[in-house]
Symmetry: C3
Subunit: 352 residues, 3 copies
């Protein structure tokens, strides 16, 4: 099997602990670690990671030379434990340390279509068969992978990256250090049609644009529609998972998380730090207050208060819905009991 | 920021009212309007639009020179009001007036693959890296944008447009004036597999085709699968939003609206003028009668009567489901009350 | 209308029955059949197929020369009936017989980018504008259609096929005889971000890969994310419908069926022979036991036992949820009846 990035990095357990800014394990052996691997795949020179306590029982059969666990992990492990207050973040550091990114490519491929009106920053990479429109401006170190299409008047900030088959329609603005994964579509027409008296549907021109902030990631196959008028915007640091739909004129704040297949109808407002589970849907013109969380598959029909957790379709506060959902399968039983009480009451009334 | 289409159009408020076929506002000043903008972005020479009454309080801070409102809007505005019986349609006209479409490109790019067996109408546009198969027939003024792939024996009617990265598989027929947005996929294989006695799944050949009517719009990333046998068809004037799935052998009528991420299983029939909210799903072999409406996220397991509104999974008539959904969070409370009554009844029975 | 594959095949009804390994119909006429068509479209020389008993009443108006039905079909038909114990499988055979696949193309198109480090098997087809990365290995008779992008270190087994616009990211392994439909995306980054103390989201490097087994089909627009570490894997014979999302580190077994728009969160395990209806969602780190079935749109929050059927969000066993769902619209009525009993009990208590 091909290994995406192998290299001779080697580090002792105490040095690794130092890098992660945590205590070195007391029992640390003289092992030199050379990689990071899953609990099952790890060998004696690999550090592994207990991502979820439900996998703790797999540790006893693991060959790993060390294991990264949460600070408060109360189980055992047959290898030295690296205890971190932020184990997932420490895991991210391990991955970056043992799998440094490949050097990025630079240059404009001979087959790329780049009109003279485009402005290209330093060290850009424009891959085979990329098509740029007129007046496209690429900042320094922008990477555009094979087959992406960037239409007229698009601006892409320094260090941003478009993977393969991305479509960016005219007038879209993308900030710095943002990543657009394969097949994502930015700035396609919003869904605006008005019924005419004869029952046919008249297209509302979609003349607005899309603005993507800095440090955003929009993943594979996701769509962000251009505004009918004005702008559809995605705030700095926001992360959008695969196959998500952001309708025209949505305003999404900063550091928002949207899991896969979320759907935002037109003119939805999502404030900063909101977290949306997978397949959540928002009806149009609704607002999710800052820090609100929505459980997967919920359907939002009205505004959400900040920092509360919601669930269900239509959604209510999670704590209420959770209890209701637990009881739901007992509904037939409740109905039977209700009928029995009614019969008893009727009999009692007859006897009076 | 790039402006997708600026131009020197200028019109007085009375002339604009005349264009919209509505009464000019009594208080109309001598302002010449040069653009249309959102309530917040509008300047003194822009007309704006009150899309939703919940934004009415923003009008008092708007600099707009005029505002388009619904005929029966009973609020106030600090600028002249253009009252329309069909305000969204009037808004579409404003957008088209102030943002006329760019002139369309024509010609076949040198990098496009166009076999000799293809027939091209007048003034077609075939963009860089488009690939046409054998015997493709393009009507007059058809536009095919960068990287779209149109396979053998496809026919596309006059004035239709394929945006970038569209896939059209062999034998598909697209009517006139239809728009296929970026990354949409027409005619890919349907999902047909039959279990064999050994538990493996045998592929059912998908030998049918796809037919798209006139004036259809299929938006970004949507998929319409080819029929197993016969045809999957989308009727004239129907509009399909992003990331929607239309399974093999579905028959979709005219002027249907499907919002984003709808999923139709194989052999679903959707009659004319049906409206489906986002993320709605249909089980296979079901029929939605003409004019039926389905609330977002509902799951349809059996046929829907014409002109009724449905909601829920499985779906019932909206008016019934709406009340039930309102009471759902009270289910734990109902259970407690039921138990209390049962205890009281048991005690009463003991006392007898 | 173009016919995707016409040819002069002709077969008698008894010979057709022999091919399908079933009894020839007693009343079989001397008809020579030359095609297969839908009930409505079939002519006297076509065999047709009754896919669903709800269409039985259409048979009386059909011109078909013969009809394939289930062995236990108890209706009538005005033409000879071919009775099969596995009618859908027999239908697949009919389609394959009357619509044999076109001969596959071979050769590497002049516009394809194929670095010298790639290894190509015999009789491969590499279409216009395909881009291969370094060290790509294609087995014998692999077909890669227009515009697909296959990144570094990808291996594709014998007889596998990628349709147009497919993205395969670096290090992905695809087995033999697998089909990846248009626009599918394999190996794009998983959705891994960790919150930092300042509320921003830190990307967890996604350094793992994707492995696709033999005889797999992944349909249009579906996404299979690369693992954060280790592998996201799809087992032999599994079939994944359009626009489905498989998150990082999911382990999907053999001969699994996932209908359109299913979403699997990270680290979901789906055992062999599981069947997931459309739009089903799985929360992360859950397991579906072998042979479990999940009704469309259900939301899975905890492990599923093997061979059971589940429904609802959160999901319970189907038989429980089905009854509950039937009663759900009566919830307002139940509430009224509960209140009435309470009032009666209160009155009775007062009288005591």
């Amino acid at each position: 099997m091909p290994s995406p990035s192998t290299h001779p990095t080697s580090i002792s357990i105490p040095d690794l602990a130092r890098m992660l800014e945590i205590e070195p394990p007391a029992e640390a052996a003289a092992t030199e670690l050379t990689g990071v691997a899953t609990i099952r795949a790890a060998g004696p020179q690999d550090v592994t990671f207990l991502a979820n306590d439900r996998y703790a029982n797999r540790l006893k059969d693991s060959q790993a030379g060390a294991v990264l666990v949460a600070e408060d992990y109360d189980g055992t492990a047959p290898m030295p434990m690296l205890r971190s207050p932020q184990p997932r973040l420490a895991f991210a550091k391990l991955l970056a340390f043992f799998h440094p990114a490949k050097p990025r490519k630079t240059g404009v491929h001979a087959t790329a279509v780049v009109p003279e009106s485009c402005t290209l920053g330093e060290d850009v990479y424009v891959a085979p068969y990329v098509v740029l429109g007129e007046n496209v401006r690429l900042g320094d170190r922008v990477s555009i992978h094979a087959h992406s299409v960037v239409e007229d008047d698009v601006t892409i900030g320094d260090d941003s990256e478009l993977r393969s088959h991305v479509s960016v329609r005219d007038g879209t603005v993308i900030g710095k250090r943002s990543v657009i994964q394969d097949g994502a579509i930015l700035g396609s027409d919003g869904f605006g049609f008005e019924p005419l008296p004869d029952g046919s549907l008249h297209k509302v021109p979609q003349v607005g644009t899309v603005t993507i902030g800095d440090d955003v990631e929009i993943q594979a196959g996701a769509c962000v529609d251009r505004a009918a008028l004005g702008v559809t915007s995605i705030g700095d640091g926001t992360k959008i998972d695969n196959l998500t739909q952001v309708g025209h004129n949505c305003i999404v704040g900063k550091h928002v998380i949207m899991c896969a297949q979320v759907g935002l109808s037109g003119s939805t407002t999502i404030d900063d730090h909101v977290m949306l589970g997978g397949q959540v849907g928002f009806a149009g013109h609704t607002v999710a207050g800052a820090g609100a969380k929505v459980v997967a598959q919920s359907g939002i029909m009205k505004d959400l208060e900040p920092n509360k957790i919601y669930a269900g379709t239509p959604a209510y506060e999670f704590k209420d819905m959770f209890r209701a959902a637990t009881i739901l399968p007992q509904l037939p039983n409740m109905m039977r009991r209700l009928k029995k009480l009614e019969r008893a009451a009727a009999e009692a009334a007859e006897q009076d």
